[in-house]
């Protein structure tokens, strides 16, 4: 099938099999290897990209489903030579540990800050809860996102304020602990 996908503002056309997953289209067909690919089971979130402005796991989207749509990957995060505040935060706070989960984490962080300029630690943890980091943990990642918020990264590059914030500060009421 012939598909045309706008990736980071540029149109790409290619012939793909319907069963090709978006993550492999980005990596193998377009050579955009910043988007990583890990668990294959929709659990780890390292393959996170934006589809029409919303972060999704690209190992669970068919490339043909993105035909005519817009994708943004980590390669589209910097503004020319200037790194996005989220990228700067990951450098400043050592949020980038081995780097494997980093691209997905940064895509979610950018989206969070676009919708919630001043996220609490809990908001950040909730936002990245579908993403796994196998390195020393999430502390530095959370700090990196806070750093970005405090250094102009929370200004909101998208239509901030028009949508409800993805993270909320209240405890999650539906989640219970029960011991037998």
């Amino acid at each position: 099938m012939r598909i045309t996908v706008t990736v980071n503002g540029e149109q790409h056309t290619g012939d793909v099999e319907p069963r090709l997953l978006l993550v492999h289209f980005l990596r193998d067909e377009l050579g955009l290897t910043g988007t990583h690919w890990g668990c294959d089971t929709s659990n780890c979130g390292v393959c996170t990209v934006w589809l029409d402005g919303t972060p999704v796991k690209s190992c669970t989207v068919l490339a043909v489903m993105a035909d005519g749509h817009e994708v943004r990957t980590v390669e589209g995060l910097a503004h020319g030579a200037e790194l996005d505040p989220v990228q700067q935060g990951f450098i400043a706070c050592h949020g980038l540990q081995c780097g494997f989960c980093t691209p997905g984490m940064m895509m979610t962080a950018r989206w969070l800050l676009d919708h919630n300029a001043d996220p609490s630690e809990e908001d950040i943890r909730e936002a990245i809860s579908g993403q796994m980091c196998r390195c020393t943990g999430y502390e530095n990642i959370v700090r990196s996102v806070r750093w970005a918020a405090e250094h102009g990264g929370g200004r909101g590059t998208a239509d901030a304020g028009t949508e409800p914030a993805p993270g909320r500060e209240e405890p999650v009421p539906g989640r219970e602990e029960v011991r037998a």
């Binding site: 069963r19 997953l21 089971t41 919303t54 796991k57 068919l62 809860s129 993805p166 539906g174 989640r175």
Partner: protein, 290 residues
């Protein structure tokens, strides 16, 4: 690397066309909504449809609206939209509670309400929540539209009352004075339920006039405990009644042992979570946020 088996792909531009395509490709065709249940199954070759009919362009199915006295949610409403909807939050706290603990924000951005119900996974959270609410499902096929009471929709694991070439288009719940809550235990954030329970209470003059008890992941018949509902109806909404309703629900369900836990533990959870959901709903009825 997990790769689905080959299939044909068609993108529907209208509901009528989606139904036509389903009818044309026959029993081996499937619609794909968010794909977050179907694609993982196809990657594992647990499902091998010959054709996928993509319904993501059917924006008319992506609306949440108030229609007369009903809340009407289109089948293509994403989990994230149901969670963010102020109407849903105001009238159906049970749905908001449930959505907050379904998967993770990324999966919720893509997975749909209709896909969740049509998947009919025995651990689906929305199946229990909408069953407790006694929702009505609107289906459309080559023969036109019909409505199905949700308690007649689930025929068994992964099996629904939808006919061939029939689509779920809308989920409707009457907006009425009631209190509700949903409580879940999972192994880790974003995981399927070990057990979860939802409670819906209509109270008038200090008496329970109607109750809905939804249960997931414990083999409750059609995701509900009718015996607990029967027990509650006509009684007082107090702790004693809620504890007894929990005991009845625990007895009525049929959990199986798996990596999420042994039968006894799940039964214990079913009772405890039913009681807690009822207490939380009752607290909300008195204006206390629970």
């Amino acid at each position: 690397m997990q790769v689905p088996a080959a299939f044909q792909y068609e993108r529907a531009t209208s509901l009528e066309q989606a139904i036509e395509l389903l009818a044309r490709y026959g029993p081996e065709a499937r619609v794909v909504a968010g794909g977050h249940s179907l694609l993982p199954m196809m990657k594992l070759r647990l499902a091998q449809p010959e054709a996928l009919i993509d319904i993501n362009d059917l924006s008319e199915l992506a609306l949440i609206r108030v229609d007369g006295h009903d809340l009407a949610a289109g089948a293509m409403v994403r989990h994230a939209d149901l969670l963010a909807s102020p109407v849903v939050g105001e009238h159906f706290p049970i749905l908001r509670d449930a959505e907050r603990v379904i998967a993770d924000p990324l999966v919720r951005n893509r997975g749909t309400v209709g896909g969740s119900l049509c998947q009919a996974d025995p651990s689906e959270d929305l199946s229990a929540a909408f069953s407790a609410l006694r929702a009505t499902l609107v289906a459309q096929g080559p023969g036109g539209r019909r409505t199905i009471a949700i308690r007649e929709f689930f025929l068994g694991p992964y099996e629904t009352a939808l006919n061939e070439a029939e689509l779920l288009v809308e989920i409707r719940v009457p907006i009425r004075s009631h209190a509700s809550a949903y409580r879940k235990v999972e192994r880790r954030v974003g995981d399927w339920a070990v057990v979860a329970a939802g409670a819906v209470l209509e109270i008038s003059g200090g008496v329970i006039t109607e109750a809905g008890i939804g249960l997931t992941a414990v083999g409750a018949p059609r995701f509900v405990s009718e015996q607990a509902e029967d027990f509650l109806r006509g009684g007082r909404p107090d702790d004693e009644a809620f504890a007894e309703a929990g005991r009845i629900a625990a007895q009525e369900c049929r959990p199986t042992a798996d990596q999420r836990g042994p039968v006894d533990y799940k039964r214990h959870l079913a009772g405890e979570l039913t009681t807690r959901a009822l207490r939380a709903a009752a607290a909300r009825a008195q204006g206390q946020e629970a």
